[in-house]
Symmetry: C2
Subunit: 195 residues, 2 copies
DNA sequence: GTCTATATCGTGATAGAC
DNA sequence: GTCTATCACGATATAGAC
């Protein structure tokens, strides 16, 4: 609000574009994750869209950041930092195949160290691994989980399983991502197959 | 051996190309999984390479099939159908980043139902999920694992974790894929963090 | 601020010489 | 059987009009 009018307006438009992009990608849509395809979807020309985001990678990274932000605000606000909040995010993912696909696609492209989205994925991985580790430590503190279990290793396992399940699910949408992750959670918390 | 000379020779050359491609991709190499890039690497022109494989997707799918075949012959022959054989394959993967990357890249592209490699990945997923399920059933039969555990669900979890760990590892090569999977195995077989 | 038009590049695939 | 040369396409990015 302290910024100049024109500049602030640009920011607002950027946000609007991201919000629209999220909706439109989520529903399904598009195959190639190209700027033109997304431009059509949000009602701008390709050049018009790149007026707000200076490159393709910046655009798509911004979309994924926005998604994280929205998911966090929606599900963590609702259920707190809990395994249930995490399951709710995953269950939601099953409703937004286009986003899942964009994430999978970009995450593979970004393994190259000099890819513009590399830092985003590294940072995100670390954040999620630590978040899972914290959940596990809480279970350990409550005496529900073996104290010998390495929380960071187990946290990495959750992250990997969540990512891998997305690819499996894209390949075969009858796969139940949440059921798999609940199983993993029950194994970690020393429960068994019962939910 | 019962085939005509010229035809058999073509087959042999195809195999040679695949073997060379495996070596050359494995070591590291190339970024874009393009035909031209691979052609340079195996010492052919792009057109020359496509003389043996009629499309890009056929070529790369053939490479991944060959990889599966070689891995199976190497590690399953050595350790039988066991968790250890599986860990050995994963440990080997950490030596061949280029192949891991090709796999990750193609598996995401192939989620589209009409992609030429779609059937390969669907079939492969099923095969691995079932193989893991069999391992778990054997543990259950031996009384090492909770009989209530759903073997197919747990098998899917292994597959997803293995896939997801590859992306994590590509992003950050200090990740120990085998350690994560051993942890999962120990959780499934009711052991804990001890190997 | 947004458009049309275009420059430039990399891709897979093909034609045709040798 | 393998090459060089080329085509057709789709991509990102940019120039410049309005």
């Amino acid at each position: 609000m302290a910024t100049r009018g024109a500049y602030a307006k640009g920011i607002v438009k950027r946000e609007q574009i991201l919000t629209t992009a999220l909706e439109v990608i989520a529903r399904n849509g598009y195959r190639h994750a190209s700027v033109r395809e997304l431009a059509d979807a949000v009602g701008l020309s390709q050049a018009g869209l790149l007026h707000y985001f200076s490159s393709k990678e910046e655009l798509f990274t911004a979309i994924l950041r926005k998604r994280d932000e929205v998911d966090f605000a929606t599900y963590v606000a609702e259920a707190g930092r809990s395994a249930e909040a995490f399951f709710a995010v995953i269950a939601h993912n099953a409703e937004v195949p286009g986003l899942v696909r964009l994430y999978a696609q970009l995450s593979v492209e970004a393994v190259e160290a000099d890819h513009p989205a590399h830092a985003y994925f590294v940072e995100r991985s670390e954040r999620f691994r630590n978040a899972f580790a914290d959940l596990i430590r809480a279970e350990q503190a409550a005496g529900h989980t073996d104290a010998e279990l390495d929380p960071v290793l187990a946290g990495g396992l959750f992250l990997a399983a969540a990512d891998g399940l997305q690819t499996q699910w894209l390949l075969d949408p009858t796969i139940d991502m949440v059921a798999h992750l609940r199983l993993l959670w029950s194994l970690v918390t020393s429960g068994r197959t019962d939910s």
